[in-house]
């Protein structure tokens, strides 16, 4: 089967190209990838766990980059063997087209599936291949884009200026307002008070990655909307990221615990009432009693 699609990426062509060649980026984008080694010149070896209907198998395979025309096109080919489950192989021709500050990534995917996988029926094969390809490029679109940074580049500058992810804001110079709050390896961190280079190899989470896979608001975001936990919206990304860190640490915080955890996040609009209420509601607590109007 063949399928074609395109994605708009929030980065310039050079950045996208570099990301396509980056092992760490590929590893986080290949659905189910547990491990990846190698380099762009010699190809990558990958271990991928996949579940298709009743079949769940570990595939060991390779990913090869060829036909490289920097920075505009290349071909990705992969082949994996999943033992009894069969094999899957496929390729994607990828073409990058600049559009202002952004990049349009076009891809044509061809996939072949054999063995038990194929016997599940063409309906599933096609769906599976499409899903795999879509997931890969979805991940690639949203997730990690890497680049080179100057030593003095702060993480927030890297996010805003190099990756064009402007959801993370700058509200002060003294590391107190929290408008720049992100997650680094799951912990809350002020992106204005950390050098980008120190995030090398770390997983950085920002507001852009908080929504559900289908684009709908996640539980915390939805609670902020439901309870009017934002007005001008400027501190909001930091608030949401802090709330996420809190609820991970403490799934059902008290009002006092929420307020204390927000010590590094200043909001000038809401008076905090509805932010506290939203966070407690997101934790599944009944907020009617604690926040009488």
């Amino acid at each position: 089967m063949n399928l074609s699609d395109s994605r708009v990426l929030d980065a310039d062509v050079a950045t996208v190209w570099a990301a396509l060649l980056n092992k760490d980026v590929l590893q986080t984008c290949v659905p189910g990838c547990k491990d990846m080694t190698g380099n762009p010149d010699d190809g990558f070896d990958a271990t991928v766990v996949q579940k298709v209907g009743p079949v769940k198998a570990t595939f060991k395979g390779t990913v090869i980059l060829s036909e490289m025309k920097e920075p505009s096109s290349l071909t990705l080919t992969g082949e994996g063997k999943g033992g009894a489950a069969g094999f899957a192989k496929g390729g994607a021709d990828v073409r990058l087209e600049p559009q202002g500050d952004q990049t349009i990534l076009h891809y044509d995917v061809e996939a072949k599936v054999g063995g038990k996988l194929a016997q599940l029926g063409s309906r599933i094969i096609d769906g599976f291949a499409k899903k795999m390809a879509d997931q890969f490029f979805d991940n690639f679109q949203q997730k990690p884009v890497s680049g080179e940074v100057e030593g003095r580049t702060l993480l927030v500058q890297f996010l805003r200026e190099d990756l064009h992810m402007t959801g993370t804001h700058v509200g002060c110079d003294t590391s107190q307002c929290g408008a720049c709050q992100v997650h680094v390896n799951g912990q809350p961190v002020k992106a204005c008070t950390m050098f980008a280079i120190e995030a090398d190899g770390a997983e950085v989470g920002t507001i852009e990655g908080q929504a559900n896979a289908d684009g709908s608001l996640n539980v915390i975001q939805q609670a902020f909307q439901d309870h009017h936990g934002l007005q001008c919206g400027f501190c909001t990304p930091g608030m949401v990221m802090t709330a996420a860190a809190l609820l991970k640490e403490n799934p059902t915080p008290t009002e006092a615990e929420v307020r204390s955890y927000l010590k590094g996040n200043i909001c000038r609009c809401t008076g905090y009432h509805n932010i506290v209420k939203a966070i407690m509601a997101a934790s599944g607590q009944d907020v009617g009693a604690i926040a009488a109007e």
Binding site: R152, L154, D173, T174, E198, T242, G264
Partner: protein, 262 residues
């Protein structure tokens, strides 16, 4: 920021070597240094990040002691001392905010010796030993006044060993804006006597309140210091509190610390 390079050594030895460069400066959690750099108030040629040095991280219990790696974050200290070391747990879990605690380290705090930093008071009250790449220094000798320590150029705080008290408490009265201590008092009752470390208050940085220590060593109760008073001389005065107010708060916080100690 002015321009500079950053290196990320992975061992103490590499870090020490990197710090021998002209105008090199160590970077720990960066919660003080980075805002300073942003204001162009520091101009290093190279920043030597200590955050990738695994040997400087972690907490180990010894006989009656707790050794905290210099690169251990406040968050990790708070976690590790929960239920076992009340004063230090309170102190670490109330520094700054969650994001500051995720990055800031004990080594950075004691090496910087901000007169309103929390950790130095614990070091004084818990008879800490400051370990560096070259030597061990007693807390009483290490802190030498506002932003001044016994550290030599290029010397790194690799760990801090605190004597674990029988009972302890940290009482912080916050400055209303920065939320740093306007006065912070660490009360520690050890088998061989009581030590009281005071931060935030003095022009000379952290200090021990000797009269209170003496009184509390014979009678560990808030009443024991009722008759004492702290001299306002040489205490800090600013928009948020006069020397007299800080002197008053030292006594109030000490009494509360004694009452609260566990």
């Amino acid at each position: 920021m002015y321009n500079f390079d950053i290196t990320r050594p992975t061992t103490v030895d590499e870090a020490v070597a990197a710090l021998s460069a002209d105008e090199a400066q160590p970077l720990s959690g960066g919660q003080t240094l980075i805002p300073t750099l942003k204001q162009r108030l520091a101009m290093p040629s190279v920043l030597v990040s200590l955050t990738a040095i695994d040997e400087m991280k972690g907490i180990t219990e010894g006989p009656g002691t707790l050794k905290v790696g210099g690169g251990t974050t406040h968050g990790d200290v708070a976690q590790a001392t929960k239920g076992s070391f009340a004063g230090l747990h309170t102190l670490a879990s109330k520094i700054g905010d969650p994001a500051v605690r995720a990055r800031g380290t004990i080594g950075g705090s004691v090496a910087n010796n901000d007169p309103a930093a929390c950790y130095p008071s614990a070091c004084m009250a818990c008879a800490a030993t400051i370990h560096t790449n070259t030597r061990d220094i007693a807390a009483d000798d290490f802190f030498q006044g506002m932003f001044t320590t016994a550290l030599d150029e290029g010397e790194i705080v690799t760990a801090v060993t605190l004597k674990v008290p029988e009972k302890s408490s940290y009482q912080k009265f916050e400055q209303p804006a920065s939320r740093f201590p306007l006065v912070g008092v660490f009360v520690a009752k050890h088998a061989d006597g009581v030590r009281v470390g005071v931060t935030g208050a003095s022009n000379n940085g952290v200090f021990r309140w000797a009269e209170a220590e003496e009184a509390l060593s014979s009678n560990f109760s808030p009443d024991a210091i009722e008759g004492l008073s702290v001299s306002a001389e040489d205490l800090m005065g600013d928009l948020h509190g006069s020397p007299e107010y800080r002197a008053h708060l030292i006594k109030v916080m000490t009494k509360r610390g004694v009452a609260d100690a566990s």
